[in-house]
């Protein structure tokens, strides 16, 4: 009985959480301009989303979003991996300082990060555009990459780097052949996390994207929504984003569970 109530409660909450998304998904399969009007099943919105032409700017925004996310995630992963190895080997106060620094972007609200970077770029006289958005995204994504890699380093047998040196590997070889393979799962999770954070971001992007006409998905939706009319094609797009995120999350979950099982097997 207790279990029944508990389950009901959870499902009610879930219904509330998912109702808006489900409605959007349902109405992505009809042509009506105004949401809520069902004019029969159609996949026209999906085809017109990708057909360019009218919605050239939307496609453009998607493309920008993906490019920015990939570049920012790659740079964050690189910077974050090197940083994590460095921080892991620091001791005492220096380690505390680095950890505190690493926490700042995660504790800062997006709007503060955005405005502070905006002020940085204008006071340095840097024209805002692709580069500034990517730099900004690297700034707030890297801490998460570091956090993804740190546990791998902590679990690692601390002697294996020295063991590699002992067997004749130069420090660089030891890094490539021993440390990198060990932290790779963390790097991959970090990359995926940075990628999703970058795609999701709105607050930091809007302050660092400049006025040169560059649009990402977030800024496009925002501008669109402010104009009042919602481009109908946003419905299939939201649905696609939702499904993609769902798939990504499942992949990460399966990966981490497999790793956990492997570890369990080892313990036995």
């Amino acid at each position: 009985m207790k279990r029944f109530f508990a389950q009901t409660y959870l499902w009610l909450l879930l219904a509330m959480l998912y109702a808006p998304i489900v409605i959007i998904a349902i109405f992505s399969f009809t042509e009506a301009k105004v949401l809520g009007n069902w004019t029969g099943f159609s996949t026209k919105l999906y085809t017109s989303l990708f057909s360019g032409g009218v919605h050239h700017s939307l496609l453009n925004a998607i493309e920008n979003t993906l490019i920015i996310a990939i570049v920012a995630a790659a740079l964050s992963t690189l910077l974050g991996s090197v940083a994590a190895i460095g921080i892991h080997n620091l001791r005492g106060r220096k380690k505390m300082v680095m950890n505190a620094l690493n926490n700042i972007p995660m504790l800062n609200p997006d709007i503060i990060t955005g405005i502070s970077l905006f002020l940085l770029f204008v006071s340095l006289g840097i024209t805002q555009g692709y580069t500034t958005v990517i730099l900004a995204h690297v700034a707030f994504c890297t801490p998460y990459v570091v956090l993804c890699i740190m546990p791998r380093l902590q679990q690692m047998n601390p002697d294996i780097y020295e063991a590699a040196l002992d067997l004749g590997a130069t420090p660089l070889q030891a890094m490539r052949k021993v440390i990198i393979p060990e932290i790779k799962p963390g790097m991959i999770s970090g990359f995926i996390l940075a990628f999703t954070l970058s795609i999701d971001d709105f607050a930091v992007t809007i302050f660092t994207i400049g006025t040169g006409g560059l649009e990402t998905l977030s800024t496009y939706i925002y501008a669109d929504a402010r104009k009042g009319g919602l481009t109908p094609e946003l419905r299939p797009l939201s649905t696609i984003i939702f499904v993609t995120v769902l798939l990504l999350l499942i992949i990460i979950n399966v990966r981490s569970q497999r790793a956990a099982k492997k570890k369990e097997a080892l313990v036995k």
Partner: protein, 462 residues
Amino acid sequence: MGESNFIIELSHISKCYGEKCVLDDVSLYVKKGEFVTILGPSGCGKTTLLKILAGFGVATSGEIKIAGADITDVPPHLRPVNTVFQRYALFPHLNVYDNIAFGLKLKKVKQDEIDARVRKALKMVGMTDYEWRDVNSLSGGQQQRVAIARAIINRPQVLLLDEPLAALDLKMRKDMQMELKDMHKTLGITFVYVTHDQEEALTLSDTIVVMSEGRVQQIGTPTDIYNEPVNSFVADFIGESNILNGEMVRDRVVKFMGREFECVDEGFGENTPVDVVIRPEDVYIMARTDSGMLDGVVQSCIFKGVHYEMTVLTPNGYEIMIQDYNAFEVGQEVSMIVKPSDIHVMHKERVCNTFEGKMVDSTHVEMLGTQFLCNEVADVEVGESVLVEVPFNKVELMDNKEDGQQVGDVRFILYKGDHYHLTVRTADGDNIYVDTTDVWDDGDIVGIRIQADDIVIKKQAK
């Protein structure tokens, strides 16, 4: 002596972090093919020394030579040594074969030679046919064998072993000890072995280096170390012993437990305070007779497999540990005899605490990181550096650290028959030596108090 005699020459190695030294002027010379064990309690600096030898750590000062070549500044991957790590440090993403072949592949050895050598190394450690196994699926003992194979396949001049058996269970440890000894014979390379297990050291080594507090205490063969320990630390650490305060009356006569004994030691001078060490198996025990040197009553008797271990209380309050093949009942009156040659007399490292201090005013001295009240000292300048002496038994320890003038933790406990001799270390790293009859445990945090009357101030000779 020709230089080629030694494969390893460590000269005056020190490793300090600021004021604190984990290694203090350690020198060690190892002959080619020797099995040397560095033995000491945890924190004695033995692992640090090994790391410096392997190149993972840099000595603050000193010089290292291997086979005559100075390698003090040579990075680890260019040193002719290989290490077996305590926690194996196998590469978890590689299988057994790739772990063992790691060093050879880096040296670009030909594939068929690698194959042959890996097989040979696996055979040597008794793990033939394990090539393709995942290292994570191996047991602790198997992992350690792979780790050894991975090191010896590179044919190092010196093999360093950092407590390689510490993580194994007792039975496995005994087996591996024998195998290591055989391996050492077959390979003919020099082994430097680090352990805190005195039995392991006695079993395996040609030479044992006993370390404590970053310093070498004694270097010698297992028999030397066991039979002729140079100080009470070594005596206590190696095997079981009765350690007692004594006084060398004159040559060949030592007084302890309130009685004079004949002994074989000379040259200590007259009426010198000494430590006396008697091994429990060297005390002969018999039912009460008049011909015994000491009388006592059996307090406890425990069967230890081969022998019985008994404690006997003498009338003047000393407890003596005795090992004998015959059991005596608890409460039985017994007599004991010790041969002169079994009484080991050694110099005391110190007879009272000596601290460096500074006068705050004529009745206060600053030492051990705090201020102590002392009796008025005549014509002493404020701020003058002085030496402060405090007898061991005048340092009070208290349970509640807030009650003390300073706080420390108990680091080392020596039972001296009728009292305990403790080493207490303060947070600043100062050692205070305390004689007490209270029972404390290793690692206890204690408050330290010294009465003004017990502080003796001596002006420093300039």
